[in-house]
């Protein structure tokens, strides 16, 4: 069975390590925060100027000066730090964020990512996505393997305008966990009940299958 959004987030949470500074994009990536293993300290960065995002506020805690990059109201944990946007992206560009998790429309077998613009649709802008993908030491893309029409989003070459070139290292989709290698998408794990053939059929880009591909442990 393909994973749902929470399943993808749960699997990505297994990539976290104690002490990681992590930037989570909007959508599925945000859900990863719900699955941080107990006892592990992860510090979440919000690129609008906060290290140490806490849970959403209680109704009576809402503060308009305390929002995340998706403009949702949030809280700050003890030990948090606030700073301005130029400092925030100095952190990101300087490689100080251990892990960035973000969504994508398409990823290519060479690690290109398209995530911000669909020709013909209104363009809202790239926000911080281009900075994040160009600079993060480690990028995991959280995405559906195919679009609603069943067409693969893991391609030989992206068809949409790019967000970054050769930057994606790992993908966790509803069907599989894959590394992006110089040879293409290397299949690491299958979603529970999903076959290698299912994944092969859903992947347009070159899929490398070596040995037995284990099921995810979720």
């Amino acid at each position: 069975m393909a994973l749902d959004k929470n399943g993808i987030a749960k699997r990505i949470a297994q990539e976290l390590r104690d002490g990681y500074y992590v930037n989570l994009g909007i959508g599925i990536p945000t859900l990863v925060a719900n699955y941080v293993p107990p006892g592990m300290q992860i510090i979440l960065q919000s690129e609008n100027g906060l290290l140490g995002i806490g849970p959403f506020p209680a109704k009576n805690e809402i503060d308009p000066d305390l929002i995340n990059a998706g403009k949702q109201t949030i809280t700050a944990l003890p030990g948090a730090a606030f700073f301005d946007s130029s400092m925030s992206f100095a952190m990101i560009r300087g490689g100080h964020i251990d892990l960035t998790v973000l969504g994508a429309f398409e990823v290519s077998e060479t690690g290109d990512i398209a995530s911000w613009k669909i020709p013909g649709k209104l363009v809202k802008g790239m926000g911080g996505a281009m900075d994040l993908v160009a600079s993060a030491r480690n990028i995991i893309v959280a995405m559906m393997h195919t679009n609603p029409q069943g067409e693969s989003k893991l391609l030989k070459k992206c068809t949409l305008p790019l967000t970054g070139v050769g930057v994606v290292k790992k993908i966790v989709s509803d069907l599989a966990v894959l590394d992006v290698t110089p040879q293409g998408f290397k299949l690491l794990e299958r979603a529970p009940g999903v076959s290698v053939e299912d994944i092969l059929n859903a992947t347009e880009g070159n899929l490398i299958i070596e040995g037995d591909i284990p099921e995810m442990l979720i």
């Binding site: 929002i67 109201t73 700050a76 130029s86 911080g128 160009a134």
Partner: protein, 230 residues
């Protein structure tokens, strides 16, 4: 030395049509509400506005958009605004989209006297069009140039009469860098205090960057997406 002005109307004196303005804020957080409202009450048009976002319909920069005062927006993200979309599609409005970190750094560079620098963001994308590309180590970078403004308009939490500013939480965002990059920088603050009332160790933006300051009124501080755990 007297940087203190009485209100937003006095603060925006000298802003003219066709000028380039920087306006602080991220979404509706930390925007200079008083000065935007004062600008919306003028006949100034043809503005180029450098601001991370473009407000929402009828609030923030949406107030200037509604009155067709903005000719060009330089931003990283411009969703959440129907009038904006309409003007963009009808080509009444020009938009230049810049990656958020590059935008912040170009603004800081304008304030810091650095005419150009290299960043990796946007390499290989349409953002790179027309920009020199250079390799450092094994990585490719774009050359980006500084941004400056005729006026920068920022919002802080507390300020003193020397122009020293302290922001509250993430309401800092672009305000600090923009304060550095204005030929004239206007700061509106929630609380204006005499010199000596702010701890000099806690200043975020030193007063040297601020030419005019006033205590704003009636801050609405609207919230775009109230999200609670309840």
């Amino acid at each position: 030395m007297n940087k203190v002005v009485q209100n937003a109307i006095e603060a925006i004196r000298g802003i003219e049509s066709q000028m380039t303005l920087m306006l602080g804020g991220f979404g509706l957080c930390g925007i200079p509400e008083n000065c935007i409202a004062a600008l919306a009450a003028t006949d100034i048009t043809g503005l180029t506005c450098i601001s991370n976002n473009a407000g929402i319909d009828g609030f923030g920069l949406g107030m200037l958009l509604r009155r067709h005062q903005i000719e060009k927006m330089i931003s990283s993200y411009v969703g959440e605004n129907k009038e904006f979309e309409r003007q963009l599609l009808s080509r009444e409005l020009e938009v230049e989209l810049i990656p958020q970190g590059t935008l912040a750094e170009r603004i800081r560079a304008g304030g810091a006297g650095i005419p150009a620098f290299y960043v990796p963001a946007g390499y290989g994308t349409e953002v790179a069009e027309g920009k020199p590309v250079r390799q450092f180590g094994d990585k490719m970078y774009l050359e980006e140039q500084w941004l400056k403004a005729d006026f920068s308009i920022v919002k802080a939490w507390k300020g003193d009469t020397n122009g020293n500013l302290i922001y509250r939480y993430v309401a800092n965002n672009f305000n600090h860098a923009m304060a550095m990059a204005g030929k004239i920088t206007i700061a509106e603050v929630e609380e204006l205090v005499p010199v000596g009332a702010l701890e000099p160790n806690h200043i975020h933006t030193p007063g040297v960057f601020v030419q005019r300051i006033f205590q704003g009124q009636n801050y609405e501080k609207r919230i775009e997406f109230a999200t609670t755990r309840d």
